[in-house]
Symmetry: none
C-alpha cells in the first residue's frame, strides 16, 4: 500500500498554528527555527506545519511536566 509520508498529512499555516496556541505567528516561527516543531517550507519559503504534530504538542501541554 501507499507509504503514508509527508504527502498525506494535512498542513497548517503559521497563522493557524499561532491561533491554536494563542501566540504571535512570529513565535511559531521561532519554534520552527529552534526545531521544537517540525515544519516544511513551500518553494516560496513559507512554512507549513503538520496538523497531527500540532495536536500532539497541544496534548502534551495538558499534562505538562516541566522537564
Amino acid at each position: 500500500m501507499t507509504i503514508t509520508h509527508e504527502a498525506g498529512e494535512r498542513l497548517m499555516t503559521p497563522g493557524e498554528v499561532a491561533a491554536m496556541f494563542r501566540v504571535d505567528p512570529k513565535t511559531v516561527t521561532r519554534w520552527a527555527s529552534a526545531g521544537r516543531i517540525g515544519s516544511i517550507r513551500t518553494p516560496g519559503g513559507h512554512r507549513r506545519f503538520r496538523e497531527s504534530e500540532v495536536r500532539t504538542l497541544l496534548d502534551g501541554l495538558t499534562s505538562e511536566a516541566h522537564r
Copy 2:
C-alpha cells in the same frame, strides 16, 4: 537519479499540488512560472506536474528535527 523521463509518470493538476502544500492553486501556477517547479502543459495550455517531483519537493523541503 537524474532528470529522467519516466514513461509511466503520473501527472498532477495544480489543484492537487496546491492541496499537498496547503496553498492556493494560483500559487502553484506562480511556482511553475518562476521555474521553482517543473511543469508540463496540456495542448490547451493547462499545467500538469510530475508527482515524483512534487513528492521530492515535499520531502526535500521537510526541514525540522534540529534538536
